[in-house]
């Protein structure tokens, strides 16, 4: 087991990464200290890992609530299901929520913990690659609104993150690839050498080589922890983590929540951000092509679904990264370096989107 730390002063917390952590005695007890807990999981993950998680808790009452699986349920109705369970089981202010599952479970459970009794503790136990490398770290919690992705939420940091890489054994290929999209993002925004490494090892990654997966979980968490520590509330640098997300959120919204996996939409969004960077003269064509090649090797989509450019643009305009009416994008001056910008003609973006939906990548 290795331990990373997200350095946020009084709210600092450890990320435990290793194979077989679920079931390891003492790991959760040191954080729970006998307090009552509610396990939040879903109908897919619960049957596989819930018993093992509960077996790690040696003191205090433990209850569970089972959510339906999928992004389509990442809404306020499902948050209420968790709140009802917290009330039903009479969790007090010192109670702890345990989020066992992928990014959707973590976002919902973390948000419910953030607003129950104005905030109780929670622990992330991510069981998908996407959650292990990205969504479980950094304290962003929340749900979707029919008008846009993650429009409702709170910043709420967990007590700890427990990433058992052995849970990836049961992860479908499509979800593995979706997680790798966020790994590619880490390399592109902060570490060109890591992107080279991913490029070189893409076959091992989709082939589920344990060492290769362990390496990307660690390195992606390091990048994220460092960015979050520098800018917890996204006043500046943290926005770089949104590379591919403004395009991606628009794709998710236009396709209908749950049709595309979040990571798939992000992959398409990254490829689009690279091509738009190229179009604006920021990025050499060979780099944009290389990024697309790596994403393709990881079995990820490279462009938008069959919707109109107008729909995409309208969805992008509702993304919450629109600040004071200006559409902001994360673009790439080079591999390993990203920049937030509003400096592009809107007309250029419109033309770009029209070409993208016509090409139908």
């Amino acid at each position: 087991m290795m331990t990373l730390t997200v350095d946020l002063g009084a709210r600092s917390y450890p990320i435990y990464i290793g194979s077989g952590l679920l079931g390891q005695a003492g790991l959760l007890d040191r954080h729970l200290r006998g307090r009552d807990a509610l396990v939040v999981t879903n109908t897919t993950v619960g049957p596989l890992y819930e018993a093992r998680l509960r077996g790690m808790i040696s003191q205090g009452r433990v209850a569970s609530v089972m959510l339906p699986d999928g992004e389509a349920h990442k809404n306020l109705v499902t948050v209420e299901t968790v709140l009802d369970a917290l009330v039903e089981h009479r969790l007090a202010r010192d109670g702890v929520v345990l989020a066992l599952g992928g990014g959707v479970v973590g976002d919902i459970a973390g948000f419910a913990a953030a607003i129950y009794q104005r905030g109780i503790d929670f622990i992330q136990v991510p069981t998908t690659l996407l959650a292990q490398v990205d969504s479980s770290v950094g304290g962003k919690t929340g749900v979707n609104h029919p008008g846009g992705k993650n429009l409702i939420g709170a910043f709420h940091q967990p007590l700890c993150v427990l990433s058992d890489s052995a849970t990836l054994d049961t992860l479908p290929d499509r979800e593995l690839s979706a997680g790798l999209a966020e790994v590619v993002k880490s390399g592109l925004i902060a570490d060109a050498a890591f992107f080279d490494w991913i490029d070189a090892r893409s076959a091992d990654l989709v082939g589920r080589d344990a060492d290769a997966l362990h390496h990307v979980i660690r390195r992606a968490c390091e990048v994220k922890a460092e960015v979050v520590a520098a800018d917890e509330r996204e006043h500046g640098r943290r926005a770089l983590l949104n590379l591919g997300h403004t395009f991606g959120h628009a794709i998710e919204l236009c396709a209908g929540y749950g049709e595309w996996l979040h990571g798939e939409a992000v992959a398409a969004g990254i490829a689009m951000a690279a091509r738009f960077s190229q179009r604006l003269g920021w990025l050499p064509a060979r780099d944009a092509e290389r990024i697309a090649r790596v994403l393709a090797a990881l079995r990820l989509p490279l462009g938008p679904p069959a919707v109109s450019a107008g729909e995409l643009l309208a969805a992008m305009a509702m993304d919450k990264k629109v600040l004071a009416g200006q559409l902001r994008l994360v673009l790439l001056p080079s591999i390993g370096k990203a920049r937030v910008t509003t400096e592009f003609p809107l007309q250029e973006l419109e033309e770009f989107l029209r070409e993208e939906v016509t090409t139908g990548l």
Copy 2:
């Protein structure tokens, strides 16, 4: 106009108190700085003051959303109404919510601002005495759950509080009295001389003497601002502000949300806390009687409604001030001094509640 400051470091903010502030040019503009705004108000207050509030805003888009009036609507459904309006009017991360109304409007609008896009700015414009002396100050926002009062919420401090005492001219007598309950609380927990002043001027207060009302708004805000500055997140001292609230919340829950005004339930809760303090030998009988006399002079109820002691106790056990299963109460060692305690036999509380519901004060 006078200005108090709630001293919370980077989140410090002013409370403006005065007669005729609504409509005063420049007062809001300095906080809005041209950003888009959503006015949240209700069907009672909106027709009276919304036009005047909007007239104060010289730049930026302004939209409105009208909520149904009353505590019965202080729930997640109404929060969604506000969130829908924020999305519909495309407020960006720098948008501002203006809460125009009593405590219910402020709690709902503040909570919606806290969770829209993970937190946008908001401004409190309280139009009831209760909101002006208590709920608009301190950043507690949230809504009720069928299982208990304020079980869902967030800490979210406003940009400023604008208390126009002239709005009290349109406040019904019953609501004026309800606000005075929280004023009495301020004196009891922190300032015996202020309680003496309230006792001496109770007839002027219910008679709506402008100077007397201005004095209690100022002094109650000072007490609250000082307590909140010392303990924003209620890890200690802030809990004293809950004097009368554990009994009071149980009364509200048992009576059905909206039957009792919050301040009325708090008044009954204060009288009960005083009598229970007396029963435990903390407070002289003459002080408990004097507290009841002052509350009666302010036309406030002094005890629980016609419910069973068991119902009351069950409702108290769900109050979120129950920490790790132990019922905590704010009790009075003397007038002007309060203490949080778990040190009382539960059986004593049960007997006390049985007597209270039998006496039927």
